[in-house]
Symmetry: C2
Subunit: 382 residues, 2 copies
């Protein structure tokens, strides 16, 4: 009898699907993609591609028919369609209900807070007067967030005054965007913890990573994070507890604020995440392999670092019309950091790749990765 | 202007092409395969596949048209067809002449010996009396090899007497196989050194790996090799000199015998090689990425180990009809060694995967890898 490869269907064909496909090869896991466009990053490197929209019930059903378990490159999938597919007996991890929670920041905050996890002070903004009330209670500026659909700084505003808040409100009314308010915490730094859980219950947690953000976009990852050991232990404990409480299956990133030495849970992302790209070379098991193992209910892998320190720097398009990929040769000559391209055009502000360096200190890894990024962006001193 | 990805065409679609395809993803290198069968290991994971024979001139020409540089998963390609394609201005690395040298063991021995490298005593077997003469001069048993086409122990015979040698000779006469004889050295151990060279001349050499063979098939790789430092340095020097002398482009494996503390060059393989699989997790740059960089004339990467010691054990089909892939879960639970499957059915004696462990000693890496191999082959104690 010939062997039947386990098959994972992925909704979406961006860089996360692309890196999952790469991780699937050694384990002989078959990948089928549902790609919005035939030339999406992952569709360039996977033979089996269904072209269709991630909110098209028939495209999702076709993907479900062709795989043992369905998972995601992104969260822009209507949970109610997924619930229908689950009801027909197909496995979907993360489940439609985990995905619904991830999509809804209001619900996330409420449930995490109700469960006793520290989160920033927050309130739903349902009436214009809710903004004034929140600003008075917590002080200006306040953070306003779209409850759904934001990423890379989109859907997040800092309102310095009631007038600014009202301007956000008016824009949101026009687009039908549901809002919440959040206190603006003074940040020591931001952390993320990747946690993986499989259906049978095994959990694996990665060491916390320090995420360096600029204009709402994650620019750099540093491991070990520059925080005290008790904070590391607490972040790991919280990530594990959240994963078990919501019964997540697959990788989940738990993003934290660290403010005045205290941890606050910011957001959950139930899939491989930008904050985990350091694990490809920097951890015993990459987040992409770990996610595939988890959704197929295979034993999880080790999460230890492969070196003393790991730094990953994201490569962003600068909109100059010059594609960093033409400088690959210069970059490879600039150092031994690992270069990853996502197969995407270099539009301004778009994450199009990353670079990872492993060294004996964060400082040294940072300067190695930086040199290669500078070479890719044309900023290397001659 | 949109970016044009560099494209590498690979003749053959076995595990070497499959692992090259995996390494190509992060560097955004496009791969086009010439596969004998549409379901070959690499063809399962690469979207662009030409199905055709590796000795079909029109299939090879079609591959050349679709890539910037052509390279190889195996050596079973007629060099004269490649020379024609080169003459039309296509780049092929390793070149048709390097490939011709690799295919011809008589010529390899002669050229290496003429260039002053230590090789085992050898002679062409052109007449029946050549065997008696060689046996008398060097003592029985002698090694008889087919000059072309052997691998994994095929095409190599140990003849204990003239009678046994004559039986090999008679078989070879019937199949038209050209033979050479070689002294049977008492082996301390066997080594291989991977060396990479790019057209512009840069050379990178990996640390020597100890290759453990059984019945002519490589079963295990150990790094660092258990030899004195001066032997390591000499093996590295010889590999570099051979690469420069023959002007190889790409990865080449130089296989050595160590006999009574002395190095003898055995064979050259001008492509990623089984003896280099440890580099995927065990070296800063894997042999597959290194090969792609070299054939595209990109700067070569670091060759340092990522840990203290690396052991790779090959997974062979046992012909029992039971496919080791069904035991993936048990294997992943058995340890943190990295599992690689090649997408091949488990026919007896066929290399169908490998397992790599990194640890603080060869002994510890060996026992970690062994445990996972035992789990895959169903030999793990309960």
């Amino acid at each position: 009898m010939s062997y039947r490869r386990p098959t994972v269907g992925i909704v979406g064909a961006g860089q996360l699907a692309r890196m999952m496909a790469q991780a699937a090869i050694p384990l002989d896991i078959r990948i089928v993609l549902l790609a919005a466009c035939a030339d999406d990053g992952a569709a360039q490197v996977v033979p089996e591609v269904i072209v269709g929209a991630p909110d098209d019930p028939s495209a999702l059903a076709a993907l479900a028919e062709r795989c043992d378990v369905m998972t995601f490159d992104h969260e822009l999938v209507p949970p109610e369609i997924l619930a229908n597919i689950e009801a027909q007996g197909h496995r979907i991890w993360p489940s439609s209900s985990s995905l619904a929670l991830a999509q809804d920041k209001r619900r996330q905050r409420l449930e995490l807070s109700a469960a006793g996890f520290s989160v920033p002070a927050f309130a739903n903004l349902d009436r214009p007067e809710d903004m004034a009330e929140f600003g008075e209670r917590h002080g200006w500026p306040i953070v306003i967030k779209a409850s759904r659909g934001g990423y890379d700084g989109r859907g997040v505003w800092i309102a310095g005054s009631l007038e600014e808040a009202e301007s956000v409100w008016n824009g949101a009314q026009q687009s039908g965007t549901v809002l919440l308010a959040e206190e603006l915490l003074p940040l020591d730094l931001e952390l993320a913890v990747l946690v993986a859980r499989r259906p049978s219950g095994q959990v694996a947690v990665y060491p916390p990573v320090e995420t360096v953000q600029r204009a709402g976009i994650c620019r750099e990852l540093r491991v070990p994070a520059n925080v005290r050991a008790n904070l590391v232990a607490e972040a790991v404990r919280i990530a594990r507890e959240i994963a078990e409480r919501i019964g997540i299956v697959g990788i989940m990133a738990v993003e934290f604020f660290v403010s005045r030495g205290m941890l606050y849970v910011n957001e959950l992302a139930p899939r491989p995440h930008n904050s985990g790209h350091w694990t490809i070379e920097g951890a015993v098991t990459s987040q992409f392999e770990q996610h595939l193992r988890a959704v197929l209910d295979l034993p999880l892998g080790g999460t230890d670092l492969t070196g003393d320190a790991v730094v990953t720097i994201n490569l962003l398009g600068d909109g100059s019309g010059s594609d960093p990929r033409i400088r690959l040769g210069t970059a490879l000559a600039a150092g031994k950091a690992h270069v990853h391209f996502y197969g995407k055009e270099a539009r301004a502000g778009r994450k199009i790749g990353h670079v990872t360096a492993i060294a004996d200190s964060v400082k040294s890894a940072d300067s190695q990765a930086r040199r290669v990024i500078d070479a890719l962006t044309g900023n290397l001193p001659a």
